[in-house]
């Protein structure tokens, strides 16, 4: 297994295999981030592909001493998503009704899976009730498990402002979840 720096250096010089190894390690978090941002499977797939093609082209300008590689990829993903949302003029999925049915990673038929699916739906609904900024922060902080320092680098926002935004998002989420869980039984 090549070291990360060696892989970046090889990929920079146009080595597709080295890029493939880099790509495999970071593919899932970038897809997941775009999936929860867009709430649309096909959009997430298209944007994930574009992120990595863009990253491949921009690798010569990537400085491994500064931004961590994953944060750099998140930044590309974020900008691509914002461009996409601007073009679409809507951040809502194409068919919201089918969104809940197509949630990936759900095991069918068992009671546990059914409970898991229900919780997943409730969480996704609560998430969609947040503002775009709050949703982005909650995804990066609680789903992607990123630190405030990393999120500040990715979004270009101040750490203190992010903490305040997260405080408001958590307060809102608590209210929404309380309401949604009560409605479901």
């Amino acid at each position: 297994m090549e070291s990360f720096e060696r892989l970046v250096s090889l990929a920079r010089s146009g080595n597709k295999e080295a890029f493939g190894q880099l790509y495999t390690g970071y593919f899932t978090p970038i897809y997941r981030f775009l999936y929860w941002r867009s709430r649309h499977k096909e959009t997430a797939e298209d944007l994930t592909q574009t992120v990595f093609l863009k990253a491949y082209q921009s690798l010569p300008s990537f400085e491994s001493t500064g931004t961590p590689f994953l944060s750099w990829l998140y930044t590309i993903a974020r900008n691509l998503y914002l461009d996409h949302a601007k073009k679409k003029r809507s951040v809502l999925p194409d068919e919201p009704e089918t969104f809940w049915e197509n949630l990936p990673g759900v095991l069918p038929s068992t009671e546990e899976a059914s409970l898991g699916r229900e919780n997943k739906e409730i969480l996704a609904r609560a998430l969609s009730g947040l503002s775009d900024d709050q949703r982005e922060l909650v995804i990066l902080r609680f789903i992607e498990d990123r630190s405030y320092e990393e999120i500040a680098k990715i979004t270009g926002k101040n750490e203190e402002a992010l903490r305040a935004l997260n405080y408001r998002a958590m307060k809102l989420l608590r209210e929404k979840l309380k309401h949604l869980f009560t409605d479901n039984g």
Binding site: G14, N15, K16, F19, G20, Y23, T24, F27, T28, Y31, R32, Y35, W36, A44, E45, T48, Q49, F52, L53, Y56, Q57, L103, P104, G105, G116, N119, K120, L123, A124, L127, V138, R141, F142, I143, D145, N166, M170, L173, L177
Partner: protein
């Protein structure tokens, strides 16, 4: 991460289970441009830069030739001879103190 945040992090754990379909990975790798095409792009970029440099240098040389006295009919030997005479005249003027007198006269003109 404080207690509240840790609770939310745990709560959102089910949403982390989202994974892309496996074929997407190989599809994206297939779409990555090959080394040759990337190198080709770089080569064409260098061709543009080299052409621009060549054009700039050629223009400069043409301008130099057109503006030189030789292009107005003077021979190189005549030009060098004229420059030698001019240098000699300046030397003589310095020796005779004529240059200083001329500078004094110029200073007087400027002051008045």
């Amino acid at each position: 991460m404080d207690k509240d945040e840790a609770q939310f992090s745990e709560l959102f754990q089910p949403l982390r289970r989202v994974t892309p379909r496996t074929s997407l990975l190989s599809e994206t790798l297939l779409a990555v441009p090959t080394k040759q095409s990337v190198a080709g792009k770089r080569e064409s970029h260098f061709l543009y830069v080299e052409f621009a440099q060549f054009a700039l240098l050629s223009g400069f040389l043409i301008a130099l030739v057109l503006l030189s006295p030789m292009s107005r009919g003077a021979s190189m030997v005549d030009e060098i001879y004229a420059m030698e005479i001019e240098a000699e005249e300046i030397n003589q003027n310095i020796d005779n103190g004529q240059l200083l007198a001329e500078m004094d006269s110029l200073e007087f003109d400027v002051n008045n």
